[in-house]
Symmetry: C2
DNA sequence: TATTGTTATACTCTATAACTATA
DNA sequence: TATAGTTATAGAGTATAACAATA
């Protein structure tokens, strides 16, 4: 076995390098954590979400969401509203400042993603797209088995 | 922009799930950290390495290597020898217990990697292989630019 | 003066679980 | 009794830099 060709190692190295290059946009320039960035991006797409829905959409657990949301709220980027249909829930909504911040970050993040994908032709992108989904399904299966 | 299809997000989620499912082998059963596992695997391939070489081969920095090596040494899995040609260096070598431990873990780790890759046909694997390399090269380019 | 490797420190993340409130 | 969300806590991992030994 060779570490350099071991798929889990290669994915870890790639994900870390890609994360570094993207977090340069949201973390270094706008002081957002990765979790905060995920919440912001998800709420920009889905204007209202419950905390549990946000967790599911961002692959974060409920305390990660709770902390990221508290921090975004403290910065005036989002608000938490009560859910009258079930008062245990809280509805998350971006405030105008949050939407504005996302609109500033989004094009830079997309430009970096586009730069990465320029390395691949259309067919390679299509295969990669499928392969990532299939690998994730298998990895989840292994996770469940332990 | 949709988080679910954003490549950096997808890579992070996949790498994390894959890492979880592989670390179940070396961490849960053999109490190795990810860094220790990388050092062990690298030394199993390359019987003698300097600390800096080990760092380069594992994508770890010098303190991560220093700490992982100290821990492996404390467990009697490897030894550090002086390098007479340049006495600032230390030569890392697995001890028999380290090689034996790696031989126990390796087949399980490879079985899990194989299970993941069974999701893909030969052509998909070949494309994935190339795509990961190309994406890494681009990500490194972005990292350098900042 | 530069490099190898170790150690110190503070900081961030993560994981577990206890807790409040609602259902 | 179960669920949504918050908070507390301890442990692990990370980043920076200071440091000793050698070149």
């Amino acid at each position: 076995m060779e570490l350099q060709t071991f798929l889990p190692y290669r994915l870890a190295v790639l994900a870390s390098a890609v994360s570094q290059s993207i977090s340069a946009v949201y973390a270094d320039r706008f002081a957002l954590s990765r979790d905060e960035w995920r919440i912001l991006a998800t709420l920009a797409e889905n204007p209202e979400m419950k905390t549990t829905e946000a967790a599911a959409h961002t692959t974060l657990d409920k305390m990660q969401v709770s902390r990221a949301v508290a921090s975004l709220e403290a910065r005036g980027l989002l608000e938490r509203e009560p859910d009258e249909s079930d008062r245990r829930n809280r509805i998350l909504k971006l405030l105008p400042a949050g939407r504005a911040l996302f609109r500033r970050i989004e094009p830079m993040a997309e430009a970096r993603e586009a730069f990465l994908l320029e390395a691949l032709d259309d067919e390679e992108r299509a295969v990669l797209d499928r392969a990532l989904d299939k690998l994730l399904a298998r990895a989840r299966q292994l996770e469940r088995q332990g």
